[in-house]
């Protein structure tokens, strides 16, 4: 990251609203395109949800940073059931920024959830990309997580 020079930059710091290191490998376009979209996006990816967390709960929590345009639940590609992630799209970027600042890293359904900028929903992106149909992280994890189907798929 480039330094902005001087210590007054501390006043301008907004680290929670910055882009993370993650880039979608399936994104159609250049890195530059993706980053450009991320920087003006009103859509957030939300991860580490319980499989039982509902759209209603998500709407209530994320509605605290502004009016929500759409919630798209992440689904297991095979079972078509919730698989622990979703997209939240706001009408205004400022509202999405506030979600990154104040909802990211807090609890929903007793779980610490994580939000990140998303380049924008496209049909097909609502499905898990793991071999078994859920998310990739649930393929390989070793721990037991009652809210996410128990053990990881390779363990099962």
């Amino acid at each position: 990251a480039m330094s902005s020079g001087g210590t007054l930059s501390i006043l301008r710091s907004d680290s929670y609203a910055e882009l993370s290191q993650y880039r979608d490998q399936h994104f159609r376009g250049t890195r530059y395109d993706q980053e450009r979209l991320l920087r003006k996006s009103c859509t957030l990816y939300v991860g580490n949800l319980s499989f039982y967390t509902t759209e209603e709960q998500i709407h209530e929590l994320f509605g605290k940073s502004g009016d929500i345009k759409k919630v798209i639940m992440g689904l297991d590609k095979v079972k078509k059931t919730a698989c622990g992630f979703c997209f939240v799209e706001y009408y205004a970027r400022g509202d999405a920024e506030n979600a990154m600042r104040y909802i990211n890293g807090t609890r929903l359904d007793d779980r610490i959830i994580r939000t990140d900028w998303d380049a924008g929903f496209k049909e097909g992106r609502q499905y898990g990309r793991g071999r078994s149909g859920g998310q990739v992280r649930d393929e390989y994890r070793q721990d037991y997580d009652a809210g996410r189907g128990g053990y990881g798929k390779t363990v099962q």
Partner: protein, 665 residues
């Protein structure tokens, strides 16, 4: 940092600037015994650099008041001491610095930056303590400030600001000014008293969080500050909270030549002047609330004023960075002399409950309190629980808007801590009428908690005795659902519709099915040619919402798919109102669903804001009038309307501008 082709200009001077800025900032970071030697050393370094980098050093130091104001408010005196040491070594530099600060002050006042201006005035006042500015000239400036109260036909808030700038500097410099110019100061204070007596205070009841004066009166901010200054004067201007490094350098500083402030004329009031709004001071704690810990400074002590100012400053600087904000609040100096956790909690609730609006988005305060609990798990949660209890006890006199914020905060907070709470402590509310503030508060909290979890969870977390306050199970009520309802008019059409929709019928097919529905208003003629058929609306909306009841997304899809049918049925105002009524009948157990459906229907122009307002204020909803969800819907509707008006206004202005440009050609 987004354009890789733009290169940053690097040059030797900017490296020097960074080094100087960083040195200057760091000297204020630690207030321990090495502070004095750090200051001494830094003054030496800067003095040596002055011949080559004077303008840069001047510029950096002029922004220092911003740091001391925003980043490290309690370190204002560290930086004034630094300037004092430089002035002692280089009189001309001191003079140029003072001139630059005055220019900044004038600029700030011209562009309505009144918060920055207050800090500038405070900084200048403390320069008197550092022997940079001569006390009589500071008194003269304050005389000009106070004389603003004699201006005619100016807004009261203008006079208020100049009064505030004067009074709020006195904790720093009152002692020195009084010692040098007691007669003039007495005159100023007497003028202050008479201004405060004659100024209007009709805003006070509007801004008070509680209507009751017990246990803590909600004082008007200038009245409170005046009481604090009067007490300070009675205590012979002895102020013990503010750190004063210049005291250690007295022998050096008292040798310095002082500068006279140039005569300062407050810029006149203009049409563009926008002054800060008046406030009411929020108080919820006093020394009795923490009997084990350090004594909390009294409400009329100047220490209380300084602490609160500084804590508010920290939030104002770091609101976007919650971890930094929490850390900065907790590292405010004096931790063992003041009950810091109580001050922090009080200041945060002061902002959360501020009327008309909090300075920052409500959810920020929830998350900030959670961060504070993480950093101080052994002490802060207890203070927060004590605060919650106190707020509950005083619900009877709390402003309704503040109660709403309390409900939102408490339910969201609980959802981060497995909804653990000693509900039995609040059993007293069970014996009260359900419409009284305490039981109503608990009901609304439980309803909001349910939205963040699920119905059974709420039943499980409260004692059985609280079931009377528990929210309804948010299920859909379909009037045509049971065979026993088959005598209801429209029942067969509802069945038909259900089958059709399940078979992916088009809008046209729906219209043709609905044609068979009789119109109970057959004989009415509204003269406009629209046939408002409430039964058609009822059958269609009930059936559709029932089929789509599974989730918000299902319902939104249904609204989208059959948008044409909705628009036609709800063409008239009566139609719109009836749609809303039916939505309510179906989903009255699930206020959250009603809210999102109303929002969607406004956005897709099935209903309009006026229809929503009529529906909310209709006699059918009178029994729900004091329920939180009604006001949520109303406020949300008004917000959408406002945004829409702003958007259209902007488009109008842009079109006018385009037209004007065309005419010019």
């Amino acid at each position: 940092a987004g354009q890789p082709h733009k290169r940053r200009r690097t040059s030797e001077p900017s490296e020097i600037e960074e080094r100087l800025e960083s040195l200057i900032c760091r000297v204020g970071e630690k207030s321990n015994s090495s502070l004095e030697s750090n200051l001494e050393g830094l003054a030496g370094v800067l003095e040596a650099d002055l011949p080559n980098y004077k303008s840069k050093i001047l510029r950096i130091l002029c922004t220092v008041y911003v740091w001391s104001a925003r980043l490290l408010p309690e370190k204002l005196t560290v930086y004034t001491t630094l300037v004092g040491l430089l002035n002692a070594r280089n009189y001309n530099f001191g003079g140029e610095f003072v001139e630059a600060m005055i220019r900044q002050l004038k600029e700030c006042l011209k562009v309505n930056m009144y918060n920055e201006a207050v800090h500038l005035v405070r900084f200048l006042s403390d320069l008197v303590n550092c022997h940079v500015i001569a006390a009589p000239s500071m008194v003269a400036m304050f005389e000009n400030f106070v004389s603003v109260t004699q201006e005619e036909d100016v807004p009261q808030v203008r006079c208020d600001w100049y009064m505030f700038a004067f009074l709020s500097s006195l904790p720093w410099v009152g002692k020195e000014l009084y010692e040098k110019k007691d007669a003039e100061m007495d005159r100023l204070l007497s003028q202050t008293e008479s201004y405060l007596k004659r100024r209007q205070k009709i805003h006070v009841p509007m801004l008070q969080v509680w209507t009751a004066d017990k246990p803590h009166p909600q004082e008007e901010y200038l009245d409170c500050l005046w009481s604090q200054i009067q007490k300070l004067k009675k205590d012979r201007w002895q102020e013990r909270h503010i750190l004063r490094p210049y005291l250690a350098f007295d022998s050096v500083l008292c040798e310095a030549l002082q500068h006279n402030l140039p005569p300062f004329t407050p810029p006149p009031h203009t049409e563009d002047s926008v002054y800060p709004m008046p406030r009411v001071i929020f108080r919820m704690f006093d020394y009795t609330d923490d009997p084990e810990g350090p004594v909390m400074p009294g409400s009329h002590s100047v220490e209380r004023f300084v602490i609160e100012e500084n804590l508010h400053c920290i939030i104002k600087s770091h609101w976007k960075e919650r971890k930094t904000c929490a850390a900065q609040l907790l590292s405010y100096p004096g931790n063992n002399k003041i009950p810091l956790n109580y001050h922090i909690v009080e200041v945060i609730f002061a902002e959360l409950f501020q009327l008309p609006s909090p300075p920052h988005i409500e959810v920020m305060y929830t998350t900030l309190l959670i961060e504070l609990c993480k950093l101080q798990p052994g002490s802060l949660p207890q203070v927060l629980a004590q605060a919650t209890e106190m707020l509950y006890m005083r619900l009877d006199t709390m402003n309704t808007t503040c109660v709403d914020r309390f409900i939102n905060w408490f339910s969201h907070h609980l959802s981060n801590f497995q909804f653990r709470w000693s509900w039995e402590d609040w059993s007293d509310c069970l014996t009260q009428d359900l419409e009284k503030p305490k039981p109503k508060f608990v009901r609304e909290v439980l309803e909001k908690c349910m939205r963040l979890s699920y119905h059974q969870r709420i039943i499980d977390i409260v004692p059985a005795s609280f079931s009377v306050l528990s929210p309804a199970n948010p299920v859909c009520i379909y009037k045509y659902g049971d065979e026993s309802n088959r005598s209801l008019p429209g029942y067969t059409v509802a069945l038909c519709l259900t089958i059709a929709i399940k078979n992916k019928a088009s809008n046209d097919e729906i219209f043709s099915i609905l044609k068979d529905v009789p119109n109970p208003n057959q004989d009415d003629d509204d003269g406009e040619g629209f046939t408002f058929n409430p039964l058609k609306i009822e059958v269609f909306v009930q059936t559709l919402l029932h089929l789509a009841a599974k989730s918000f997304s299902h319902s939104f899809s249904a609204l989208a798919k059959f948008h044409e049918v909705f628009k036609t049925l709800a063409e008239s105002d009566e139609g719109k109102l009836h749609v809303l009524r039916v939505v309510y009948e179906v989903w009255k157990n699930h206020p959250q669903m009603i809210a999102v459906l109303v929002d969607k229907m406004i956005r897709t122009q099935i209903v309009d804001c006026a229809a929503v307002a009529n529906w909310i204020f209709s006699s059918e909803l009178a029994h729900d009038f004091t329920r939180f969800y009604i006001w949520e819907i109303l406020h949300s509707t008004i917000r959408k309307m406002n945004k829409h008006v702003l958007k259209i206004h902007k488009e109008l202005e842009e079109t006018k501008a385009r037209l004007a440009r065309q005419h010019k050609r």
